[in-house]
């Protein structure tokens, strides 16, 4: 096994840890006094973290010149989607227990829930088209479709911002991370437009 293959497995195990911890705590029964809130918080924070990590792969690859990093991108993206599904399921099953009317009212009336739902719906087509077959079939349109991940990043960060009552340190950090990552991309886009004939290698394979 190459060193990168080992690294990839370590990342895989790390991404699985929050889910494993939740299962473990389910059996130990020690879930704080408000388990549903705790599960919602854990799955949501993990999904957001992994989404930001996914967006970090391409800039990191260009800065370090390590092209093999691209092989982490799909895995991280799918893990982000996995935790977003858990987050969503927690809301549907544990928080509202399939009370469709209340959930629908929440999506319409509560901007932070509207944005959460938007983020989830944006991630669904990305997850569905993440297979090698789909990438081949969609060709150039795959690129265009997957730019939706930038929108999802923004809606996810605003969603996390609007949940908070007063301590905005964490959402501020996420917003800053997004700005930095988008800043890299904007800078490279500007550079390639102003004369450079080199095509962007970051988007050539996946």
């Amino acid at each position: 096994m190459t060193r990168f293959a080992v690294f990839r497995r370590v990342v895989f195990a790390a991404a699985l840890t929050p889910a494993a911890a939740l299962v473990y705590w389910t059996f130990t029964g020690d879930f704080t006094a408000n388990p549903i809130d705790f599960i919602t918080d854990t799955t949501g924070t993990t999904a957001l973290t992994l989404l930001v990590f996914t967006l970090t792969v391409t800039p990191l690859r260009r800065v370090t010149g390590r092209n093999e990093l691209i092989r982490l991108r799909r895995m991280l993206g799918l893990f982000a989607f996995f935790y977003a599904c858990l987050h969503m399921l927690t809301w549907v099953v544990l928080d509202w227990f399939f009370d469709v009317a209340s959930m629908a009212a929440d999506v319409v009336d509560r901007p932070f829930i509207t944005l959460g739902m938007t983020t989830f719906l944006l991630l669904v087509p990305l997850a569905l088209t993440s297979t090698a077959g789909m990438i081949r079939r969609l060709g150039r349109r795959w690129q265009q479709l997957h730019r939706l991940v930038y929108v999802a990043g923004v809606t996810a960060v605003i969603h996390s911002w609007w949940v908070v009552k007063a301590d905005f340190r964490q959402p501020r950090l996420w917003a800053l991370a997004l700005c930095v990552l988008f800043g890299f991309r904007a800078w490279w886009a500007l550079q390639s437009r102003s004369g450079s004939t080199r095509t962007r290698p970051a988007f050539q394979n996946s």
């Binding site: 020690d30 006094a33 227990f97």
Partner: protein, 319 residues
């Protein structure tokens, strides 16, 4: 300003400071050691263990009025899951950090529109009042709730004793603001110190109490020791903790959450299922320990007692 202290403890009986300071360290160390490993993997474990550090029974507590036969929340839940931003913004931060709070000696300053402004030692402040147990529902503005057996005494009795001037229309409370004991106040999450207030007629209502205990024991630090307000028909944040100052005034106090975000947190903040928080519904709540949400009751179920305080008021405007 004079200090009124009941001279019922002779100086020879006072434990030397070096003893109790070391005792506190000892308790902290013992608690940490006893629990350390077991708590390592549990999200609430550390807080719960610390919460059970030094628990002292309160003597002569009689049963008070306004009880409920609803199931009580456990001591571990009440003391391990709450908001007390001076000790951190997460629910288990207060239990984790509040052992740093020193609750004796403790002085309460009483000033503003009052006959004789003064500073009171905490024990002589409490002493004239017989302790009673009050089992109240607590509804947090975040839409969770608990049932809590407080120990305390009516705020009305305290106000009568303090004798405010007729011009006093509001009473304002202030929490301790000490970065040495309270790591949370180093972060400007709120405009410290925490301030809360009531209209005088609200404060004189027999449901409003000052609490000094929980489950028949001395109030845990994280729940607002040595003395806190409990107004059960209002959202939990109105029930200010660890009070160091009581001020009578003719102006509506500038309360901490109202200053932080007036659109979301009004001065009154009565529990009201028909007026939503701008970002979430207040129609239902999760009683901790229950799976299904339950309907939130007007004035947290104390409407029969308190609704008359607000007759003629538009509660959508005065939220």
């Amino acid at each position: 300003m004079l200090i009124r202290k009941a001279p019922d403890v002779r100086y020879s009986e006072v434990t030397p400071k070096s003893f109790y300071v070391r005792r506190r360290e000892f308790i902290a160390a013992a608690a940490a050691a006893a629990v350390g490993a077991a708590a390592a993997f549990s999200p609430a474990g550390t807080g719960r263990a610390r919460a059970q550090g030094a628990r002292a029974k309160l003597p002569n507590v009689r049963k008070g009025p306004f009880g409920t036969d609803e199931k009580l929340n456990s001591f571990a839940d009440i003391s391990g899951y709450n908001n007390y931003y001076e000790f951190g913004a997460d629910k288990d931060d207060p239990a984790r950090n509040a052992h740093r709070l020193v609750t004796r000696p403790w002085t309460i300053r009483v000033d503003g529109l009052v006959k004789s402004p003064a500073s009171y030692d905490i024990d002589s402040f409490i002493k004239p009042h017989p302790l009673e147990e009050r089992i109240y529902r607590l509804r947090c503005v975040e839409a969770w709730s608990m049932v809590i057996p407080w120990v305390g005494f009516p705020l009305a009795d305290v106000i009568k004793r303090l004798d405010p001037l007729p011009s006093a229309r509001f009473v304002e409370f202030t929490t301790l603001n000490d970065a040495k004991q309270m790591p949370g106040v180093r972060v400007p999450v709120l405009d410290w110190p925490y301030v809360e207030g009531l209209r005088i007629d609200e404060a004189m209502h027999p449901l409003a109490i000052l609490a000094v205990g929980l489950y028949g024991e001395v109030l845990p630090n994280q729940n607002g020791s040595p003395i806190r307000l409990v107004v059960p028909w209002k959202y939990g944040f109105k029930s200010i903790k660890s009070i160091v100052r009581i001020r009578f005034t003719d102006q509506q106090p500038r309360t901490a959450w109202n200053v932080a975000n007036a659109r979301e947190y009004g001065f009154y903040s009565n529990v009201n299922p028909t007026v939503d928080h701008p970002r979430w519904s207040q129609a239902t709540e999760r009683r901790l320990g229950e799976f299904f949400r339950r309907k939130t009751l007007m004035f947290n179920g104390y409407g029969d007692q308190v609704a008359s305080l607000y007759s003629g008021m538009d509660l959508r405007k005065y939220y």
